[in-house]
């Protein structure tokens, strides 16, 4: 609690003590009035002052002004009717102050909690000086290219490259990944990672302000500035709510007694005036106005802790209505790394086949060549290879240890007049011929991420009805992977421009109000990312282009997080609607009850503050997502 809040708490406590004392002593007449007046002014003087300022500025609908009118009115009514019930006016102000105090305390506290969660920036960096001494400095003062030391147990302050030392890094704060990452000299480390075992010396590559941790924090903090539709709705509602309730109050004060006066000849003006004043104390839309943005703030904070960075409340809201998920295959559902899945030798040792193919392809950096070299595993002796000819669209020919080796597709084999065995499997096939004789084939495929299947299942469970896979790959490969993952809609053999076209088609076909989410690795699908209702880039804040284009950034390239993100968005929106409906229902209920004379002013303010407290507590639930 800050000083302002502490003073308020003290004032509230003193007022409560005064009220108890007055209830016990039961003073009478003028003494009673004076004593209660003192208590009233003690708890409400600042409200009356603000109300006065408000009227001077022509702001009739300020909540302090309305609160002032209501309580002054109640006080005067008590004097007029001589019933001596001054307690109520004080109780209203007391509750009102309690509500205000709670609001500022709860919001301040959750703001602190949430920002603390997100604040993965260390406060200091250990700068290594030229004379070898180490000084603790503010990370902002560290220049690019300086050397910083990171002790075991400390967070990396600024992104950089390791000069010396080996260690395991805990990247959970950045990616949500619980497995530590082993690092050695030459590896990059990002700010926010925690050094677990050994001392590291790091040469910084960026200023602190542009480091990963700073970028994440900035992104998430500012996310709540992009307001959602529900927040705009609340703002519009708040604008009409207060004047509307005031008009109703006026109507209640004037119309019913006027009717009874006309029809029965007498009217109870004072009791209707009291009911009208009760309206004024529930005229503040506080619960709604505070709880909705707080829910989004908590949800965005909670998501960022799990490695899901949402760039705006509006995207969180849109994501909750995701009906179609479009997934890029390579890098999203599959690892994007080609691996040899099967070797089918023909009159040759399997290892020898791989050795010849790897040597023939030794000059190429194509992913397929690299996968061959990786599968072979042994050392490649380039001096054994000569006369390498690459035939684009076919394959490679080379002399390896004096033998003519050809590695390539079916077409290359046909061209050489070699009969290759036919392969129906969904994979890229490299046929090998040695000295004009067919020696077998090597099957190379991209491997599916282990969590991909479960991710698809969970997306369906979260209510996504269409899941579409887009890929530039061969139809057979695409169909096989889709089948394995349980995806029924596949668009294959697409060029990058075709992906945009396909997405446009899906956007046109979508149901009204539903959203199309696209997830890709963010490297070459920026146009598709921007075009989708929600663009999700996977694989962290490494690429600026992806952050720029995407609406949601997943720190880990695990497709499960797409399902998690949708789930979190739904959870958040459920809370938002609970709060909106709950607050409105209670407000309307109390307007009804008080117009019928069934709820007095004290009860009305109690309900009003109670709703606000519950809505705020409910909002903070968005921070914690159930794991299911």
């Amino acid at each position: 609690m800050n000083k302002k809040q502490k003073t308020m708490l003290l004032r509230i406590l003193i007022t409560v003590a005064m009220l108890i004392a007055l209830a016990l002593l039961r003073p009478e007449g003028a003494v009673r009035l004076a004593a209660y007046l003192v208590a009233y002014l003690f708890i409400g003087h600042d409200i009356l002052k603000k109300a006065w300022k408000g009227i001077k500025n022509g702001n009739v609908f300020s909540e302090t002004f309305l609160m002032g009118i209501a309580t002054v009115g109640a006080f005067l009514l008590a004097i007029l009717t001589k019933n001596g019930d001054y307690f109520e006016a004080i109780a209203v102000l007391l509750f009102y102050q309690v509500g205000e105090l709670f609001e500022s305390w709860a919001v301040g506290k959750s703001r602190k909690n949430i920002t603390a969660l997100m604040d993965i920036r260390p406060d200091t960096a250990n700068l290594e000086k030229e004379d070898g001494n180490v000084e603790e400095v503010d990370p902002d003062e560290v220049e690019v290219g300086s050397i910083i030391q990171v002790q075991p147990g400390e967070k990396v302050a600024i992104d950089g490259v390791i000069l010396s030392g080996t260690s395991s890094m805990n990247t959970a704060a950045l990616t949500g990944e619980s497995l530590p990452r082993d690092v050695q000299p030459g590896d990059r480390v990002q700010s926010g990672e925690v050094n677990m075992t050994g001392l590291l010396r790091v040469r910084t590559t960026v200023p602190a302000g542009e480091s990963t941790a700073a970028k994440i924090l900035d992104l998430v903090e500012n996310a709540t500035s992009r307001k959602s539709r529900s927040e705009h709705f609340i703002a519009r509602f708040a604008r009409v709510y207060t004047p509307l309730v005031c008009c109703l109050a006026l109507a209640v004060a004037v119309l019913p007694p006027l009717f009874t006066l006309i029809f029965t000849g007498s009217a109870d003006f004072l009791s209707w005036l009291y009911r009208a004043l009760t309206f004024l104390v529930i005229s503040c839309p506080c619960a709604l106005v505070i709880s909705v943005p707080l829910t989004f703030f908590a949800a965005i904070g909670g998501a960022s802790r799990e490695g899901v960075l949402v760039k705006g409340s509006n995207y969180l809201e849109a994501m909750a209505n995701t009906d179609t998920v479009v997934l890029d295959k390579t890098g999203t559902l599959t690892k994007g790394e080609f691996e040899v899945t099967r070797v089918q030798p023909n009159n040759i040792e399997e290892r020898e086949l791989l050795r010849l193919a790897a040597h023939a392809e030794c000059a190429s950096s194509h992913p397929i060549s690299r996968s061959l070299q990786k599968a072979y595993g042994g050392e490649i002796d380039r001096s054994l290879v000569e006369n390498i000819r690459e035939e684009s669209g076919f394959g490679v020919l080379a002399r390896v240890e004096g033998r003519e080796v050809a590695v390539g597709n079916h077409k290359l084999m046909e061209k050489l007049g070699v009969t290759a065995s036919s392969v129906t499997e969904a994979a890229t096939v490299a046929h090998v011929a040695v000295d004009g004789a067919y020696t077998g084939c090597i099957l190379i495929a991209d491997t599916v991420k282990p969590t991909a299947k479960e991710a698809i299942r969970q997306m369906r469970q979260a209510g996504v009805s269409n899941i579409v896979m887009l890929t530039g790959d061969r139809r057979e490969t695409a169909l096989k992977i889709a089948d394995e993952l349980g995806i029924t809609q596949v668009e294959s053999q697409l060029l990058p421009a075709d992906k945009v076209e396909k997405l446009e088609k899906l956007l046109k076909e979508k149901k009204k109000g539903s959203q199309v989410l696209f997830a890709g690795d963010g490297i070459n699908d920026a146009p598709v990312l921007t075009q989708a209702d929600i663009g999700v880039a996977m694989g962290g804040v490494g690429s600026d282009a992806a952050i720029e284009a995407a609406d949601v950034v997943l720190m880990r390239d695990d497709p499960m997080h797409i399902a998690r993100a949708i789930h979190m968005a739904r959870h958040c929106m459920a809370i938002v609607w609970q709060n909106i409906v709950f607050s409105l229902v209670i407000k309307v209920l109390f307007l009804l009850l008080s117009s019928l004379g069934l709820a007095n002013m004290g009860l009305a303010i109690f309900a009003d503050v109670g709703v606000m407290v519950l809505a705020v507590l409910n909002a903070t639930r968005a921070l914690h997502n159930r794991k299911d």
């Binding site: 300022k53 909540e63 205000e100 919001v107 500035s225 506080c286 703030f297």
Partner: protein, 72 residues
């Protein structure tokens, strides 16, 4: 031109009021008041200097929300 100013407001409704008030000030293209991070983000109309517009924003907001402050 877009600029962010730290603010200090006590209640969410006050923040909303501040936003509505600032939006009406001449020279302000659009404005967002973020109560949660206590910041005001103003998009100024092209060709105008923030320093010329801000005093008007501060004045209008002080009138509408007496106990809110803008750090300008």
């Amino acid at each position: 031109m877009k600029k962010t100013y730290p603010i200090d407001v006590d209640c969410a409704n006050c923040a909303l009021l501040m936003e509505m008030t600032a939006a009406k000030v001449e020279g302000v293209e659009s404005v967002i008041v973020n109560y949660m991070i206590q910041k005001m983000i103003i998009n100024f109309q092209p060709g105008l200097k923030p320093d010329d517009v801000m005093p008007k924003v501060v004045k209008a907001c002080r009138k509408a929300v007496p106990d809110g402050t803008i750090d300008y």
